[in-house]
Point group: C2
């Protein structure tokens, strides 16, 4: 008998939910030896190709943190560094074929895991949750 849990505050609910999602992300990544940060890196590069600084902006990381992050991904053959044609200082980071393959595959698995979290909701509830989450995101 699953006891009725005490009602959560909005804050507690969002915090706990975020941990659930993060854990799903971490587990999905672990299947391919990817950390959450690496997953985010691939996610950012999915539809664009960007410089280190720009990626760091998306991820909220310092540029000095980027070097190692990208280098590790590069060493695994997921990502490629190429010199910017317009700026001799800059570097463009993009997915390799292997990286793209892994990104698609990972996205699918993350989808499955996160969807499983909402398996207990009705379709209407899921839609509503998505709408509300979207409203928060586009604050």
């Amino acid at each position: 008998m699953t006891a009725d849990e005490p009602p959560l505050s909005t804050v507690d609910a969002l915090v706990q939910l975020s941990f659930l999602v993060q854990r799903a992300l971490a587990e999905a990544g672990a299947e391919h030896g990817l950390s959450v940060v690496q997953i985010r890196l691939l996610g950012v590069l999915r539809d664009r190709t960007a410089g280190m600084l720009e990626i760091g902006g998306h991820l909220g990381l310092d540029k000095s943190s980027m070097t190692g992050l990208v280098s590790r991904a590069e060493k695994r053959g997921l990502v490629r560094r190429s010199p910017s044609p317009h700026d001799g200082r800059a570097v463009l980071v993009s997915l390799t074929d292997e990286g793209r393959r892994l990104t698609e595959q990972g996205a699918e698995q993350i989808g499955r895991r996160v969807a499983a979290l909402t398996a207990g909701l009705t379709e209407a509830q899921r839609t509503e949750l998505t709408r509300l989450a979207g409203a928060v995101i586009n604050g």
Copy 2:
């Protein structure tokens, strides 16, 4: 003019929302030199006093990870290790007064930051979001 964003899938919405919340957590913690993990540690200890293994279970961490985590918190005077009266092997971890103070204070700041995320919602929407998140959590 904030352009209408494209509609997000449920998965994308939850993932992005989780990152927003995690960032709020990280920022709130940073004000006191606490990492997200340390915050969680304090959170677990807020209403109970537990052994290393039990805490590790709540946090999803290996017992070997716990030693360092608790030791660092102990070094900052936030947490105390005491021998279990019933089991010579075990150790009981509990908050110090300083740790409790910081926990309360941090909880309040986290509350503010997370609440700020939902500032754009109506009260009814916030209630509904909380209900749906709760349903996922007790899924």
